[in-house]
């Protein structure tokens, strides 16, 4: 039915001249799916001066890369980038397109899918091939993480999905891999632009809380009891050089700004260490942090669901446990 549609594409999003991690991550499952369907894995890079990113994508497993390289693509723009992808897709007819579920990925995905009148599955956390039909089986959380759904796009191509950052690990980089880099000069009239970027504020208040890239996060929840008690969390975070996170309950109570919220309606994080202090572990919270490498939970309630995902769980009073941890860690680090 779709003989002319071939190959699995991964969009490598570029920001500030660097590939976003999620694009490189997606080359890993992309490789597996492409091999299973006997297709090529193609990285697509749209930006300004991006040949080095195409090479990086090949080192991470792409067979080849298509680059659209021009100063008009220096910064993301919905209309310009959608038009670029539309031209590429009409020309090359990929069977599948994976897009990182960053804010820009979730901006372009629906715009593009709608233009092509094809199906898009949002914010996937699982990627497989449906054995009956050969379609990609896109698995994603819904209902605030309470339910998982597996979605197929059987009748239209390409099948497109946005995939949550941090779910897949990057593959091993092999700089000796080689692959063709195809340059596509796409001319798009400026008139397609419907928006204008006036200013980029990098030191924004909310942006200072960079939970996504944090190596260690110490989060507090309802168990803290009041805003002032966030000091227990902040002090442990300071001793560890960690970023402060929180559950939705603590944000809703007004104890800490929304920028700190981890979970389905906040940030998705995947640090090496995640401390959950006084967080019961509602599924919405677990949805945002269960991919962390090691999870440490401190909670009075031995039945709290957070213990189901914890590598180490202390059943106890956080007001007594946290100060000891803080003091001891300071001592260890000082020594």
């Amino acid at each position: 039915m779709f003989e002319e549609y071939k190959n699995l594409w991964v969009y490598i999003e570029v920001m500030d001249g660097k590939a976003k991690n999620v694009g490189l991550e997606l080359l890993n499952p992309g490789r597996r799916l492409a091999d299973q369907n006997a297709e090529k894995l193609v990285a697509v890079v749209v930006g300004n001066d991006v040949e080095h990113i195409a090479k990086q994508a090949i080192a991470y497993g792409a067979d080849e890369a298509i680059i659209v390289d021009s100063d008009i693509f220096d910064y993301y723009d919905t209309d310009l980038f959608t038009s670029a992808f539309e031209s590429l897709i009409l020309k090359y007819k990929p069977s599948t397109l994976l897009i990182g579920a960053t804010n820009n990925g979730r901006d372009i995905g629906p715009r593009l899918a709608c233009r092509l009148k094809t199906g898009l599955t949002a914010d996937c956390t699982g990627l497989d091939i449906d054995s009956e039909s050969g379609n990609i089986a896109w698995t994603r959380p819904a209902f605030g993480g309470n339910l998982m759904a597996t979605i197929l796009c059987p009748n239209t191509r390409p099948q497109i999905g946005t995939v949550r950052p941090g779910v897949f690990k990057k593959g091993t980089k092999d700089d000796t891999r080689s692959g063709r880099i195809i340059r596509e000069d796409i001319v798009i009239p400026e008139s397609v632009r419907k928006t204008k970027l006036l200013e980029v504020i990098r030191e924004a208040a909310g942006a200072a809380v960079n939970l996504e890239d944090a190596q260690i996060i110490v989060s507090g929840g309802r168990g803290l009891g009041k805003a002032e008690n966030f000091s227990y969390v902040r002090e442990l975070a300071a001793a560890l050089g960690a970023t402060v996170g929180s559950s939705r309950a603590a944000v809703d109570a007004g104890w800490i700004p929304y920028a700190h919220q981890v979970g389905q309606t906040g940030k998705t994080v995947m640090p090496k260490l995640y401390f959950a202090c006084g967080i019961s572990g509602a599924i919405q919270h677990l949805a945002g942090m269960s991919s962390s490498d090691k999870i440490i939970a401190i909670n009075k309630d031995p039945n709290a669901p957070i213990f189901k995902v914890a590598d180490y769980g202390i059943v106890g009073d956080l007001f007594e446990v946290l100060p000891v941890l803080t003091t001891e860690i300071k001592r260890m680090r000082g020594a």
Binding site: G144, P154, P302
Partner: protein
């Protein structure tokens, strides 16, 4: 300003629990609410109306009981609301839903004139896709800005907004008409006054049916939906972690640190 707000009635997913025996969603007793992010969109719309004048129209696709969501919007400052309802619409995925909404906009514009701004929440808390807003903008061939935390100003032909983009904020200007999808922001949704609740209690809410928007059958409902749900299941979190419960909290803390240093984690 002629503003349209798209809202969805959703189960309050923060109240949903999993039945530990059957591993299925317990939906009984879970209240239906206006999608959290849509209520922020409505608040932005009402503030713009208060600043620039004009009217706020709300549309909501869903079963007849979704009229309750529209009434809530009317009590919080919307001027009129329409329910989009009909069995032909059911089973619509985001592509079909956005098409239905775009057709509805065209239909309402005959009556109320062209909309300058269409506001939506960044995503619904049940489907969590965030796709309907941008897909609507594409069906209508108009500008979109997603993840907006604040509408800063509206001029004759453009709107200026603050957009959240992970480690940064962007100030973006979009030509009107535009679709803007909003995140939670400082503009907290207002509580309706008792009088406004009474006033809107029995407000008439017109229903837009498939016949009203001339959609044909191929682009709506299951037929118009390229994505199909293959299966659903409840997520399992089972990790065999170490539970530490020493005689005192202090001992527990020390035990944790010793276990963690064994693994070179601290």
């Amino acid at each position: 300003m002629n503003i349209l707000v798209c809202v969805k009635q959703v189960p309050d997913t923060t109240e949903i629990k999993i039945d530990p025996v059957t591993n299925t969603l317990i939906r009984a007793g879970v209240p239906s609410i206006v999608n959290t992010f849509d209520s922020y969109a409505l608040e932005q719309a009402v503030r713009l109306k208060e600043k620039y004048g004009g009217a706020v129209t709300v549309i909501c696709m869903g079963p007849p009981q979704a009229k309750a969501a529209i009434r809530e919007c009317l009590s919080k400052g919307a001027d009129r609301g329409y329910l989009i309802s009909g069995k032909e619409f059911s089973g619509s995925d985001t592509l079909a839903t956005s098409y239905i909404l775009a057709r509805t906009v065209a239909r309402l514009e005959k009556e109320w004139g062209a909309f300058d701004l269409i506001l939506c929440g960044k995503q619904a808390i049940d489907g969590d896709t965030g796709q309907v807003g941008p897909e609507m903008a594409e069906h209508m061939k108009i500008a979109q800005v997603t993840f907006v935390s604040e509408v800063l100003s509206v001029e004759a032909s453009a709107v200026t907004v603050r957009r959240d983009n992970e480690d940064r904020e962007e100030i973006v200007q979009a030509y009107l008409p535009a679709v803007v999808t909003v995140v939670k922001s400082a503009a907290e949704p207002r509580f309706p006054s008792f009088a406004s609740i009474i006033d809107t209690w029995d407000a008439e809410i017109p229903v837009i049916t498939p016949a009203d928007i001339e959609t044909g059958g191929e682009r709506i409902g299951l037929n118009g939906s390229p994505t199909k749900v293959k299966k659903t299941f409840t997520p399992q979190f089972v990790k065999k972690g170490v539970v530490i419960r020493e005689k005192s909290p202090k001992d527990s803390a020390l035990k944790l640190l010793s276990l963690m240093s064994d693994k070179a984690l601290v």
